[in-house]
């Protein structure tokens, strides 16, 4: 059994007419079936409006299926009795750092989640400290959240998710609004959390980030267009074109320079160039 099982998932939003009546609207997701393994690092890519964020919100019951099922660690998101169990296992970090800070002081913000789980104060303190250390923000714990940069706020949002001790974290374009340093920091933290065993699902438009994962799911118009390893996906230029994606910079350079595909990193590229 996989950690997350998605079976024939369809989500259709309702449209409200001018007279107030509701009619079925666009299908945001259509007949999606996927398995996500525990401890894996999965990227979800695709054009704006392809259903990436809707899919993410289905994974912890923020959106319920119109048809089909989402089963997290054996629990169906439709089962209200398990909703809190699911949400404590699957955390989320969103795109805009300013929309997810709830307290004025950094450490209070990180404590917000665990407090709501009804955890003992001493344990909350332990978790908050540990989470802040994991994202490199322990020294800033008493600062006002409004004094932080976008990248730092995003690290606080991640710490808030980590303090819930989730088994899986979904990152919905966490670096879209960050400067280069902020982006690098956040990506490093995600990789470290995954290395510590947390299942990481990363929604992104940056192919340079997607290429760091184990598996890339490409969404298009509410469906899964393909599901491959980065190496498989980025060697299929036709698919890249069709999905409205682009090659990561290194692969684009290798292709344009006409170098063989076994040149998989800059060290190998340098060796290849030296031997010619």
């Amino acid at each position: 059994m996989s950690y997350i099982e998605i079976r024939n998932l369809t989500v259709q939003f309702m449209k409200i007419n001018e007279d107030g009546s509701e009619v079925p609207g666009r299908k945001a997701l259509e007949d999606i079936s996927l398995d996500i393994e525990k401890g894996s690092f999965v990227a979800v890519v695709g054009m704006n409006g392809s259903g990436k964020s809707t899919l993410a919100k289905c994974l912890n019951g923020l959106i319920l299926p119109t048809k089909g099922d989402v089963i997290v660690d054996g629990m169906n998101t439709r089962d209200e009795d398990h909703l809190w169990d699911i949400r404590s296992r699957v955390g989320m970090v969103f795109q805009n750092p300013d929309n997810q800070i709830v307290s004025s002081i950094v450490e209070d913000d990180v404590a917000f989640g665990p407090e709501n789980l009804g955890i003992e104060p001493a344990e909350i303190r332990r978790r908050v400290n540990q989470a802040l250390k994991q994202v490199g923000m322990y020294d800033q714990r008493l600062k006002g959240a409004h004094m932080l940069s976008g990248g730092q706020k995003q690290r606080i949002a991640i710490a808030g998710a980590v303090a819930m001790r989730p088994e899986c974290i979904i990152f919905d374009e966490p670096t879209a609004m960050l400067d280069p340093k902020g982006r690098e920091n956040v990506m490093n933290i995600i990789s470290e959390l995954n290395a510590d065993g947390i299942t990481a699902i990363l929604i992104t438009h940056f192919m340079s980030e997607a290429v760091e994962t184990d598996r890339i799911i490409v969404m298009n118009a509410g469906r899964v267009l393909c599901d491959r390893t980065p190496a498989q996906l980025f060697s299929d230029t036709e698919m890249i074109e069709r999905a409205g994606l682009e090659l990561p910079p290194f692969i684009e350079l290798r292709e344009k320079a006409g170098l063989p595909s076994d040149v998989t990193n800059l060290e190998k590229m340098a060796a290849y160039m030296n031997n010619r």
């Binding site: 054009m47 704006n48 609004m177 400067d179 910079p249 350079l253 320079a257 030296n274």
Partner: protein, 285 residues
């Protein structure tokens, strides 16, 4: 057309706890029809600078001239400033609000008190420049469009004011690669068809390298580097120390030149880097 910024200084929370010098002695000039790239990490003063260029903030000292009109002397009407300087904020699609695309784009010109015919002409023209077909989209709800198209509609709303200066704050943030390419092509089209000065703020160094004629780098409220993209991006280590970086092409060729004796490249684009690599391989060493 030109913009001249002279010794601009701005202080947040003056004489209060948390007093911060947000801009310190910032001076630069932009001449007719050029594209200025502005880079700097979060909190470096970029947004504060932009807000001075259309009169949203008033400087502690220093001046901003649009052509020979000083917009910081307190005499120029704000309406006049904003008619000249169009500011497109980050994620401008969040500011769409009207029932139809045509109404949304018409909002600015209508507030200028123009007649209906002129408004229609401007709306049509603005939508064409951003790459949307007026007849196709005019009666749609702006909210039915994709993320990239919503952003184009929002930008058309600013273009319909026919500004002399167009400021774009992170115009490609959060877009998928295809929409990203379309927005860059749109910026070039705006530049070619209107001739206005464009100020392009971005964290994407590849975009800055490909779009800008001139780049300024802000750090702690000061301009610390200034020049062509080639000049600015030859300061890789200084940029890294400021939390910035160089375009991916340059990052890769810099690393390659450290690994390969005799290989040098000043590429700012992947195409240029690939050419340099091919030339190196085919040359006699």
């Amino acid at each position: 057309m030109s913009i001249t910024v002279k010794n601009l200084r701005y202080i947040y929370n003056k004489e209060m706890p948390g007093e911060t010098v947000a801009l310190d002695d910032v001076s630069f000039e932009i001449s007719d029809g050029s594209i200025l790239g502005v880079i700097g990490h979060t909190g470096s003063g970029k947004s504060t600078l932009l807000q001075h260029l259309n009169g949203l903030l008033k400087p502690e000292s220093g001046d901003v001239f649009i052509d020979d009109v000083c917009i910081t002397d307190g005499k120029t009407e704000l309406v006049e400033i904003r008619r000249r300087v169009g500011l497109v904020f980050q994620y401008p699609e969040y500011q769409l609000f009207e029932e139809t695309v045509a109404k949304d784009v018409a909002f600015g010109p209508r507030n200028l008190g123009l007649d209906d015919e002129e408004i229609k002409r401007r709306v049509k023209h603005a939508l064409e420049i951003v790459g949307l077909d007026y007849e196709d989209v005019k009666d749609n709800s702006p909210f039915e469009h994709s993320g990239g198209n919503k952003r184009k509609i929002a930008i058309a709303g600013v273009l319909a004011m026919e500004p002399k200066v167009l400021i774009l704050d992170e115009p490609t943030a959060g877009l998928d690669p295809k929409a990203h390419r379309e927005i860059l092509a749109m910026v070039r089209r705006i530049h070619d068809s209107t001739g206005c000065i464009i100020i392009f703020v971005s964290h994407n160094m590849a975009d800055i390298a490909s779009m800008a004629d001139k780049v300024i780098v802000l750090n702690a409220g000061r301009i610390v580097l200034e020049g062509t993209p080639a000049q600015v991006f030859s300061h890789g280590e200084e940029l890294a120390a400021m939390g910035l970086d160089v375009p991916p092409a340059r990052e890769m060729t810099d690393k390659l030149s450290r690994l390969i004796p005799g290989f040098t490249s000043e590429a700012l684009s992947i195409t240029q880097a690939a050419d340099d690599i091919r030339n190196f391989i085919s040359s006699d060493k």
